[in-house]
């Protein structure tokens, strides 16, 4: 169930205890203070790699206009 913690919403996710224990061991001596902070870090990393890009709002004509400007300013030949 979602709960407010330091003004931010959190929810509880279950992971197998042996996995949590492995993580506890893994984070010893690192900057991670608990299993949750490590799991959050890993999930953010994983998700950022697979998030879809929204469609570009620009049309072909817009693109040509931009290229013309870039040519006129000497950025493109």
């Amino acid at each position: 169930m979602a709960e407010e913690k330091e003004g931010k919403k959190y929810t509880t996710i279950s992971i197998p205890t042996p996995l949590a224990n492995k993580i506890k061991k893994r984070i010893e001596g690192t900057g991670f203070t608990n299993v949750s902070s490590y799991v959050i870090y890993v999930l953010r990393e994983v998700l950022s790699g697979i998030e879809e890009e929204s469609e570009d709002a620009f049309t072909k004509e817009d693109e040509e206009r931009v290229k013309d400007r870039l040519r006129s300013l000497g950025y493109l030949d």
Partner: protein, 376 residues
């Protein structure tokens, strides 16, 4: 090329003729006008307007927007109570800067109070008034407005020939067949140390994006036109034409150190860069931040989507006979000469050309073509 931050490059420009009726107006300053331009042009993607209370609170406490996207510097529209006495939630207001000819609409979705001291402490790590960022926070008006903006009009301004928005840089990089691009931020004319850092980074990617910050400066700083001309000279004389481009970024420095380093990286990601150079005490001021705090903070953002390239220090080693950094030179500090911006400035102030192992002669000569290269 990286995805824009938050997945979508924002474009909030609309035609002026959409204005059919008289709207209430608020006159805004140049800093807010630049924020509007950066929102409308996608530099601040995924922001579509000035921030709401829940985003502000998340940024302050967690360095993220309320949807968990990394974001470290709040973008806020502050107003006086008397400016909004006839304005309420749901109204559309015309934001105007008569001096620079900017007009934008804002859909007022929220009007709220904020605690300046809390924001200062979290964003700048201090609530001391001596910190220039804190001074700015304390000088803000009493209320904040949250809402999406739409840019109606933006008159031509000085240096527009060097001003590309993220849509344009992304097309430029694509046309140049650059897949990996490193961004370099600057507020000064280039000395040999800067050139070394840029070229070292460029060696491993396809292109270099030199992105000077243009805007309000302190007395004694180099003028914007001096920075641009001196960089143009360096690029024309010492860079391959198809490997380096320069374009300006109009925004104000916040001096928020590590938080601002993340903000600077996000803006460059939106321009289409894959890498961002972060030096010593990036965006720092006085002794408020540790010299490498702006490096360390990146480890908290695995989902940032742009790779920081860290440089700790660089100097000229008289024994190696070249520019070195701490990873490649075994010689004692006594052989190292630091690139002193202060010393270079002093020489230029008296009309003297700095030694060639400090600054390219062509660059120095370009600076000296200006009667007064410094801000008065």
């Amino acid at each position: 090329m990286p995805k824009p931050h938050g997945g979508k490059l924002i474009n909030r420009k609309i035609k002026k003729d959409i204005l059919k009726k008289e709207l209430p107006e608020i006159e805004i300053n140049t800093n807010l006008s630049e924020d509007i331009l950066n929102i409308a042009n996608g530099v601040f993607s995924p922001l579509e307007g000035f921030q709401y209370r829940n985003d502000l609170e998340n940024i302050v406490s967690h360095r993220r927007l309320s949807d968990d996207t990394p974001w470290t510097i709040p973008i806020l529209l502050d107003v006086d109570e008397k400016e909004i006495k006839d304005i309420k939630k749901g109204d559309i207001v015309l934001l105007k800067n008569s001096k620079i000819g900017l007009q934008a609409l804002i859909d007022i979705e929220e009007i709220y109070d904020f605690n300046k001291k809390d924001i200062a402490r979290e964003i700048y790590g201090t609530d001391e008034n001596e910190h220039p960022g804190v001074t700015n926070i304390y000088s803000m008006k009493k209320k904040l407005i949250g809402g999406k903006i739409s840019l109606l009009e933006n008159k031509n301004r000085e240096f527009d020939e060097y001003n590309l928005n993220p849509h344009e840089t992304r097309i430029l990089f694509k046309e140049k067949n650059w897949r990996e691009i490193v961004a370099f931020q600057t507020r000064n004319p280039p000395h040999i140390g800067h050139e070394y850092v840029q070229k070292t980074a460029l060696t491993f990617v396809d292109g270099l994006f030199i992105n000077p910050i243009i805007g309000k400066k302190k007395p004694g700083d180099f003028r914007d036109d001096v920075i641009l001309k001196s960089y143009k000279t360096l690029i024309d004389n010492y860079y391959l034409k198809d490997r380096a481009v320069m374009s300006i970024l109009r925004t104000s420095m916040k001096y928020a150190g590590p938080r601002e380093a993340i903000h600077h990286a996000i803006m460059r990601k939106n321009f289409g860069c894959t890498h961002f150079i972060v030096g010593r005490d990036h965006a720092g001021v006085g002794n408020y931040y540790g010299p490498y705090d702006a490096h360390d903070i990146f480890s908290e953002f695995p989902d940032l989507g742009i790779i920081p390239v860290f440089f700790r220090s660089f100097s000229r080693c008289t024994k190696c006979g070249t520019v070195v950094n701490e990873k490649i030179c075994p010689h004692d500090q006594k052989y190292h000469i630091n690139f002193s911006g202060k010393k270079i400035r002093e020489l230029l102030r008296t009309g003297k050309i700095p030694p060639e192992d400090m600054m390219r002669k062509e660059v120095a000569e370009t600076i000296l073509t200006f009667k007064q290269p410094f801000v008065k």
